[in-house]
């Protein structure tokens, strides 16, 4: 009797301590989550804070007179004349007219307010509309990247302003008259890479990423699922299959650059495929994602209850019918989720692509699987290392685009799972 009381007493006395322990344990969990969230928020605020200006462009509106004498051009449809013509002079003249305080000696300073590629824009516009010759038109051009930095980051210690005091006064003047304006940066989404920050865009990298991902999906998903089904459903249990299984798990842990080396040795050196093309990139990333897909697909097949299999077998279904009619449809959501996670991982890779030449300066947007291309994370890497400071905000903006891609892929994975999943 006394024994019982003392035990109950013991429990009662320890109860407080146990509650405390539990509270502490929960607090640890909350702290861990808080640290992770704080890190995430810091990262996001840093990227968004640095990068949102990358989505803005600075334009300069000019009254351009297409003066044939100034341009040494009579007929814009004659390619030979166009090649020899001067498309910079009318632009500089137009800036000069907009700024009455500028003199003849300021030509160079004036020229450095407009983007070096504005002359190509004017050329292309004239080739398309030869009737513009001799007229005066109001046209908008990209401003020089130094003007862009000045307008967006005046007084920001992280940027250095490269305009002279006189140029700054001119830009302030033009800005007051709404001739220099910032607007949404459509160039960023419609052009490929450029060494001029104002003209650089992510379209080439987005298309490159898409093409590479298509190859990866088309190859990795069927091969991975087929391998998983065979290993899980048909393969005999013996030393050989054990060996294969161990090696698939090992492959999942191999550093990604090794797959790049493999790709270089096999696809480029042995098969003679071209460098820097999405096909080779997709093949290398296929090798990299295969283990992930096989492992997650096998887990999905394993989670199909044996009762489903037994019931199908019970009514006389063959092994293949069991797999194709019952196991596969039930395991598909898990397989898809695993594949999309693997693809998202592949989307963020740069290391394996370095060796097969996809870390490259490529201006033209790729049009096919055999066109030279680069991918989004590589674009971020290249811009982050450029000497021009205006690329910092472009790199952050490109990170945001990449994050948007990743998030939509993960959202797709969740949606697919929700839609196809069946609970037991």
């Amino acid at each position: 009797m006394t024994d019982h009381t003392s035990q109950a007493e013991l429990v009662r006395r320890s109860l407080k301590g146990r509650y405390r322990k539990e509270r502490r344990f929960r607090a640890y969990g909350i702290v861990a989550i808080a640290i992770a969230l704080a890190a995430l928020v810091t990262l996001f605020t840093d990227i968004v804070g640095k990068g949102y200006t990358g989505f803005l462009k600075t334009t300069i509106t000019l009254e351009v007179t297409m003066d044939p004498d100034l341009m040494y051009l009579d007929d814009p449809t004659d390619p030979k004349q166009v090649r020899m013509a001067d498309f910079v002079a009318p632009l500089v003249a137009a800036v000069g007219r907009a700024l009455p305080s500028a003199t003849q000696d300021d030509q160079d300073a004036l020229r450095r307010l407009i983007n070096p590629y504005a002359s190509s824009e004017l050329r292309d516009a004239l080739i398309e509309n030869p009737e513009w010759m001799g007229t005066t038109r109001t046209m908008s051009f990209l401003a020089h990247s130094n003007v862009d930095v000045y307008v967006k980051h005046k007084g920001d210690a992280a940027y250095s302003i490269k305009l002279t005091d006189q140029q700054q006064a001119w830009v302030d003047d033009l800005r007051a008259r709404e001739l220099v304006e910032t607007s949404f940066n459509d160039v960023f989404f419609t052009s490929g890479d450029s060494r001029d920050p104002a003209k650089a865009g992510v379209l080439g990298a987005i298309v490159g990423s898409l093409l590479t991902m298509i190859i990866t999906l088309v190859l990795a998903f069927p091969i991975g699922v087929a391998a998983a089904i065979y290993l899980e459903e048909f393969a005999p249990r013996n030393k050989l299959t054990d060996f294969i299984e161990v090696n698939i798990n090992n492959l999942a842990a191999v550093p990604s650059i090794i797959f790049g080396l493999l790709g270089l040795a096999i696809f480029i050196n042995l098969f003679g495929m071209p460098r820097s093309v999405p096909v080779v990139g997709g093949l290398v990333l296929t090798l990299m994602t295969l283990p992930t897909i096989i492992i997650s697909s096998r887990a999905a097949i394993k989670s199909v209850p044996p009762s489903v299999r037994e019931a199908a077998e019970g009514i006389g279904a063959s092994k293949m019918q069991v797999v194709l009619h019952h196991v596969l449809p039930l395991a598909l959501p898990g397989m898809l989720t695993g594949s999309i996670i693997g693809m998202a991982q592949a989307l963020g890779e740069t290391a394996p692509l370095l060796l097969i030449g996809m870390v490259a300066f490529i201006v033209e947007v790729p049009e096919g699987l055999f066109d030279a291309a680069t991918v989004l994370p590589v674009q971020v890497f290249l811009w982050a290392g450029s000497p021009e400071l205006a690329f910092i905000e472009r790199a952050s903006a490109a990170i945001m685009v990449l994050l948007a891609f990743l998030m939509s892929m993960n959202a797709l994975a969740i949606w697919l799972r929700k839609r196809l999943e069946r609970r037991w």
Binding site: P116, S120, K162, I215, I362, E364, L389
Partner: protein, 347 residues
Amino acid sequence: MIKLNKTFATLALAGTVAVMSAPAMARDTISIVGSSTVYPFATVVAERFGSNTDFSTPKMESTGSGGGMKIFCQGIGTQNPDITNASRRMKSSEFELCQSNGVKDIVEFRIGSDGIVIASSQEADHMDLTLKQLFLALGEKVPQNGEWVANPNKNWSDVDSSLPNKPIRVMGPPPTSGTRDSFNELALEGGCDQLQEAESLSKDEHKAICQSIREDGAFIEAGENDNLIVQKLIGDKDMYGVFGYSFLEENADRLQAASLNGVEPTQANIAEDKYPVARSLFFYVKKAHVGVVPGIVEYASEFVSPRAMGPNGYLKDVGLIVPTREALMELQDKVENMPNLTLNELK
């Protein structure tokens, strides 16, 4: 479900066909590899070339000088690159590798120079270093009473009392970088050679001692990202950084550079070889690809044109130390004649 089966089969087949049909295609885009130092200049040329001619814009990979040579010398045929950039001259071993792989005719273009600067924040005191002082500050071993001992100098003033009484802390590129190679060779070995004690060293010892940077924390390896070094320098005025001249020029209002042997790193001093830590930049053209891949000669001719490399050229705007007028004329002759590089020139 048989449908599913068929879909899989079709997908797998389509994949296989896509892979197997990879032809050894004719290429109409010039492919360029090589030095990360030349990359910021060559890409500007490539882009102008693409936008002003009917040729497509060359594709450029930044592989480092050595990596570029290796890929360039792999052989002829369109799967190999046409041009390689280098921040040093081709080595005779690389030339021989090229020859043995059938890359017989190579044309060399020396396209100006790049200086390596030791920079700090504008707010720091200006430093005037000799190469000897630089070696005594950064060398792994320095002579003391006739013995080579691990570098004991903690502050700049320990090296020479005229220098500031501040800890030696220098950020620089990692050993994989061409900039680091040149810095070791030109700056450190240059300073080491002025020490009496270095004369008695054997050839191997000389290289091992004179080209080693200390690893006790005074020299901080900062990865290949020079922008990172620039940010650190702006934040910490006791810190010094080693990088290429173009990054100094881009941040001229916030950074200053130490003068070496009394010479400031300016465009003129580097171009005239007065600044001691300057190197030449090159690109090499594979002659067998001229006429196979369109635009190679035109690209080279754009690179050496006055509008690119002249005294007011666009490459000067991005920080290239442009060659003298005579050197530019020679380069233009070279584009016309395309003379082959010979092994004797490299020795």
